[in-house]
Symmetry: C2
Subunit: 212 residues, 2 copies
DNA sequence: AAAATAGTGTCTGTGAGACACTATATT
DNA sequence: AATATAGTGTCTCACAGACACTATTTT
């Protein structure tokens, strides 16, 4: 589960409370319960709710990781997901769940994580980067109403590179995904227009990438 | 498993020989055997070899399909793959496997397929189309040495739209993935230059799509 | 010679990057 | 007034589309 905190891309890790890898940081996860999970997505949502106390606005299958080398207990098959959530939705909920915390994605590489979670995170980050280049997916890291400046900051945090405000405005216009609200918001200078997602729209995919 | 036959995109289906869906056409598949499959990819390759007699040059995880509605026997979790293979590699092998045959992708929608394979195929086709727009992936549908005309035909078959030969030549040049062979080949007009993949190169991804 | 396919030259169109410029807020 | 952030105008650049043109082969 990714989010943006202080204009830095963060990932939610939880500390394991049982062997194997007791005490290590790891991705939130668990097993499918065929009684209550109507699909693997439902299982992922249930586990996230249970382990982190929150439901992401976006959830997508990443990839299956499998084999006998990844869990000391033996052969395993795990389906990894990646999720996006606005950090504003987080603050209260997360406090109630002990041993869960947000880490800057850049700092994770030097941690000792459980299983092959280091590799899973790399893959997830890579996919998120790609999608940020050609789609509006990063809006799911923002609250329902947001400014162009916020969206720009989120995209830059994800792709690790500056983009032109102008390019982003062109895309916002062309995508037709958003409408202006009457509100404006202050941030130390001229007030910024608040946008929000039109209800029921799909995430636009562009046919060129940003940041060539 | 996709391939190109007579400049038309085809998919390999096999006829089921046991319930459920006895006699229906279906995707080749099977169960993981943790004794012999070191990973889910290995399992996919083994099942393809066993059910169709051939090994694709490209194999990629598509998506997990899950739930209790998709198999009358109860809850199931299936990982679908998509694969590309040159049709030239096929002709001999496939004859040895009864009840496997290539279908034009366009004709499949009207068939009665087993399980949710109709939906899986739609998703696979969609992903293949997208990748054909921004990458050189379609080369895996061609033999080791091929002409620009052949590659153009493959891409057009996949995306269902004509592209400019000029655009493709620009990409071939820019990708630096191929080298010319000394051979040329006849096809009813001026002889065409044969290209082949440089050994060990990665599939280039472009930052614009074809067919805007 | 005619037809077919291969390949090039070059113009247009689209949208990203760059960046100066205007607009409006806070201090 | 100075500064900070929001937003626009407009030029350049890269690359896809279009399409006429040349090149080389078969019939």
């Amino acid at each position: 589960m990714f989010s943006i905190k202080n204009n830095v891309l963060h990932l939610l890790l939880i500390r394991r409370a049982a062997p194997p890898f007791d005490g290590c940081w790891s991705l939130p996860g668990g097993f499918i319960d065929i009684e209550q999970d109507s699909s693997v997505e439902a299982a992922a949502m249930r586990k996230l709710q249970q382990k982190t106390g929150l439901q992401p606005g976006y959830l997508e299958q990443l990839e299956v990781f499998s084999g006998k080398g990844r869990d000391p207990r033996g052969y395993s098959v795990s389906l990894a997901f990646f999720a996006l959530v606005p950090y504003s939705a987080v603050s209260s909920n997360i406090a109630t769940v002990s041993q869960a915390s947000w880490w800057p994605v850049q700092d994770i590489a030097s941690l000792q994580l459980a299983f092959d979670h280091q590799e899973i995170i790399q893959r997830a980050h890579h996919r998120l980067k790609q999608k940020a280049l050609y789609s509006m997916l990063p809006v799911y890291c923002l609250p329902p109403a947001f400014t162009v400046g916020q969206l720009k900051a989120v995209i830059e945090a994800i792709i690790g590179k500056e983009i032109q405000r102008k390019s982003l405005m062109r895309r916002i216009e062309a995508s037709n995904m958003f409408h202006l609200t009457e509100q404006k918001v202050s941030s130390g200078g001229r007030q910024a227009q608040l946008y929000q997602l039109k209800p029921g729209v799909d995430i636009t995919h562009f046919n060129r990438n940003l940041g060539d």
